[in-house]
Symmetry: D2
Subunit: 138 residues, 4 copies
DNA sequence: TTTT
DNA sequence: TTTT
């Protein structure tokens, strides 16, 4: 059984992070992936898909520090759909991407901030997030 | 921008296929991926995720013929969330996987049917589905 | 930086396992992925690609016990090319897939063994291998 | 059978493109993916893996125009190992990645060129390459 | 809500 | 060297 998602897109907003009882961190943010195609009239159409990204524990904490609105991000994870009852007692579903790994592919992209011209920091374990720390390469 | 999903799971029901005006085929079926883990009490827990698979055109027609409830299937595709208004006028969202490719990894798995012991058919282009037909390997 | 490989294929031979000084286990086996296409003469051609799979530590030990020649296997990993000098002093290269994860998708497939008709074992952590043990699903 | 590779890395040199008899274009270039880890002495080590990327036909032509040394690139493809006899009559193997798709994730990254500060071109179908042109999103 |  |  395999449930794997690979996304490269732009971060829609700074992560919202909270800490559960017990101290487990959870970060949430949206990620946009856009697809461009020509419709039947030959017009160029951009379709944007918004993904709800959820990160846990160490990944959440790394995201809290480094992930910013506008960044281009690589996220690897899995699909998780959870249900809840709305105020009308109707069962509703929300699909989220639980990230197991991410990589920042750019600095913040907004025009007010020139830090995008600065190289990425040396960033010991910071420029990449993963649930397995200090993994040897073999 | 990349939006890629890779699933290996079991088909929840035979595909439902319909043909749009213009003759475009659309097939839908559910696919279960299960994840087994040990919870904090050390108990073994199975969590099953159901995915709504949607296939179009040639892939839909191949699925109509060959995909059956219980099969193990590889599906490669992308996430697509669409919205609609429910009877209370509330905006609702449904997330689907638009498949770009699939592979049958087993015959039907349910217990009433012994066909699983039969070898796969020779199946010219049939045991694998793809949107690019007759693609040369280079 | 991402270097990710996803393979589904048939195991070419039982894993060869050895233990390094220090007790680290390394398992090696080949995996065949076949691609079928129609050549320019319209003939059906099967092209088989052989991959050298290398697993380390806990994954190697799981493979030693459960992976058998003929099985259909899912392997997720990364590409690693290493160089060595041959007897003529010529630099040679070998490309391997370091597996980070695998799943058995079938029992042994050879005809003498009827175990393929038996359902998969309950297999606590056995039917799936991973480098992160007891990972909570969040 | 699945043989899928996903890479994000930096282009090692401008593509070399040639045209086979019959006019089929083939582009080749190297792509570096780096992995950073802590070795057993606790030192930070960077390991770079070089991949031989091969693109065909329309993808090759897009690469010829747009892919440049230093760019960060997403490449999706498959592993292909081919053999040849060297001057000593020894069978040698070369592993390549046949790309089925690619995306430019940045402009050229080297320091002499300030074009990286320029936004990407509007680029009709150019900023993304794929073997299926004008594919509708369903 | 992002980005080109 | 596998498998269909």
């Amino acid at each position: 059984m395999v449930n794997k998602v690979i996304l490269i897109g732009n971060v829609g907003g700074d992560p919202e992070v909270r800490y559960l009882d017990g101290g487990v961190a959870v970060a949430r943010f949206s990620l946009a992936t856009s697809e461009v195609y020509n419709n039947k009239n030959g017009e160029r159409v951009t379709q944007t898909e918004w993904h709800n990204i959820v990160l846990w524990r160490r990944l959440a904490q790394t995201a809290e520090q480094y992930v910013k609105k506008g960044m281009m991000l690589y996220v690897e994870g899995r699909i998780r759909t959870r249900s809840w009852d709305d105020q009308n007692g109707v069962k509703r579903y929300t699909t989220e991407i639980y990230g197991d790994n991410f990589q920042m592919l750019s600095r913040k992209q907004d025009g007010n901030d020139r830090s995008q011209d600065t190289p990425m920091p040396p960033a010991p374990d910071l420029s990449a997030g993963s649930d397995d720390s200090d993994d040897l390469p073999f």
